[in-house]
Amino acid sequence: MFNKEDNALLDDNKGTTRREFIVRTSAFTAAITIAKYPVKTIVDKINQPEAGNVVVTINVNGKSKTLEIDARTTLLDALRENMHLTGTKKGCDRGQCGACTVLVDERRINSCLYLAAMCDGSKVTTIEGLGTEDNLHPMQQAFLKHDAFQCGYCTSGQICSAVGLLKEGHAKTDDDIRELMSGNICRCGAYQNILDAVKEVQNA
């Protein structure tokens, strides 16, 4: 059966703060087994990459990371699978939903249609880079306040998109915001609340 430690982590974490919850759950997964097959990702020394691979250096959320990855890897998969930054979501993998929206050099894009190889030298900001639970970005704070999400799966993309939208500066009216946020589908239907959140930050 499950070892005592595992149970303790998920069962009896009395009154955990959210931060503790994360630390403990990640400790829990680490406790299962130890990696036997280290997928070659973050590399120290750049040698000649294997055939079909590329070596890229990307500044992710302020930290420079050098990866040797399959040239086919999208930025989305590089973030989620290679760097374990799973805040960026895969909803359709075809540029049809916006869940994977991140900021590349401060512009919002769909990371599912963006090859990581093309990000060499770029600055990428994901949801994890906007703010933390203890220090939320104003847009994250506004989403929380206005209940601008339900299941939470499109939320990272919505927030990154909204940050990009305000930076672009083309939205003047409610209808502009609605139109320019239309690349982010929310199946739970939090659209009205998202609009309210974006407006609050815009007017702040």
Binding site: G52, V54, D70, A71, R72, T74, D93, R94, G95, G98, T101, R107, R108, I109, N110, L113, Y114, L115, A117, M118, D120, S161, G164, L165, E168, H170, R178, E179, L180, M181, S182, G183, N184, I185
Partner: protein, 329 residues
């Protein structure tokens, strides 16, 4: 996705040389279409040449008043560019009617011209498609063809050209600048895309290894009074059921010059020259707009599920013309 080698080109010459005569090599710019097609195993290049570092990102007004748009200008930058928004509102509006803000931040002008159809069957590799696999048959003609073309079709292919931007470019008589191993040349936009005919897999006149470097838009008296109207099932982030890029030059209530191009109905961006001619020296009235719309759609051939398109396209033209010509009964 099939494996490929990836290289980044620094100059046009590097890029062109890297492709050379290799028919399994492709340029990648914004990536929004080719990466999608590669994921679907529709495009299987062995080599990708990243052209995003090339110096093709400028929008400049030439001495003759024409505007030259670098092939790597992103759709959003193009749409919001002051010159474009003021001189060619239909282009700006067409761009903003396409895709989403994120995709427009990625997609390039050159790539937009090359984007491939969204035909359901083209995208589903488990089904026959003459465009994807020449000779395999067309699943759309006898299948579900609600989104399909009614103009320029053949018995091999009825796939709709998906671009909004291209509809405006066709109305604006744009010129495509390309560069290849044998040097530079220009192609009139109206000649750039090919009708499917017997070879739907061949979509344009680009030769092996040619790189689109710029799109030039001639200055005109009519482009300032233009618009783009797109009709679709949802309000945004969708391909057109029908669309119209229209421009009118009106003097003393009489039309001296007109442009009408259609989207969502043609196998290529559809310029309706005969309809334009029918408006010359006419008053800008709904009756005349309606007559022109009838001319524009007179050759339409419909299929089981898109029989509505001629009428919807006509009403789209009328509505668009009313926006710029006034609603005069």
């Amino acid at each position: 996705m099939y494996p490929f080698t990836y290289i980044k080109a620094k100059t046009n010459k590097d890029a062109i040389a890297a492709i050379g005569s290799n028919t399994n090599a492709k340029f990648i710019g914004g990536g929004t279409n080719i990466v999608d097609l590669m994921k679907m195993n529709i495009e299987k290049p062995h080599q990708l040449v990243d052209i995003t570092s090339l110096d093709l990102k400028k929008i400049e007004t030439l001495s003759n008043g024409n505007v030259k748009i670098g092939a790597l200008v992103r759709n959003s930058d193009l749409a919001y560019h002051k010159t474009i928004a003021e001189k060619f509102p239909m282009l700006s509006k067409a761009l903003l009617a396409g895709a989403s803000a994120q995709l427009r931040n990625m997609a390039t002008a050159g790539g937009n011209i090359l984007q491939r159809t969204r035909c359901y069957y083209f995208y589903d590799t488990a089904t026959p498609c003459n465009k994807r696999e020449p000779g395999s048959g067309c699943s759309a003609i006898k299948g579900y063809n609600r989104m399909h073309a009614i103009l320029g079709t053949s018995d091999k292919c009825i796939a709709t050209h998906p671009s909004d931007m291209c509809v405006a470019l066709s109305a604006l008589d744009a010129i495509v600048h390309v560069e290849g191993i044998n040097g530079e040349r220009t192609i009139n936009f109206l000649d750039f895309h090919l009708l499917p005919g017997d070879t739907p897999e061949k979509e344009n006149v680009l030769q092996q290894g040619e790189l689109i470097t710029a799109i030039e838009i001639p200055s005109s008296s009519f482009a300032k009074n233009s618009t783009y109207l797109k009709v679709r099932d949802r309000a945004s982030y969708e391909f057109a059921l029908t669309s119209a890029a229209v421009a009118l030059d009106i003097h003393n209530g009489t039309i001296s010059n007109a442009r009408i191009a259609l989207g969502g109905v043609g196998t290529k961006p559809w310029r309706a020259k005969e309809a334009e001619q029918s408006l010359i020296n006419k008053k800008a009235t709904t009756e005349n707009f309606s007559a022109a719309a009838n001319v524009a759609l007179k050759d339409a051939v419909t299929y089981k599920y898109n029989a509505f398109k001629p009428q919807l396209a006509k009403q789209t033209i009328i509505s668009a013309l009313q926006m710029i010509g006034g609603n005069n009964g």
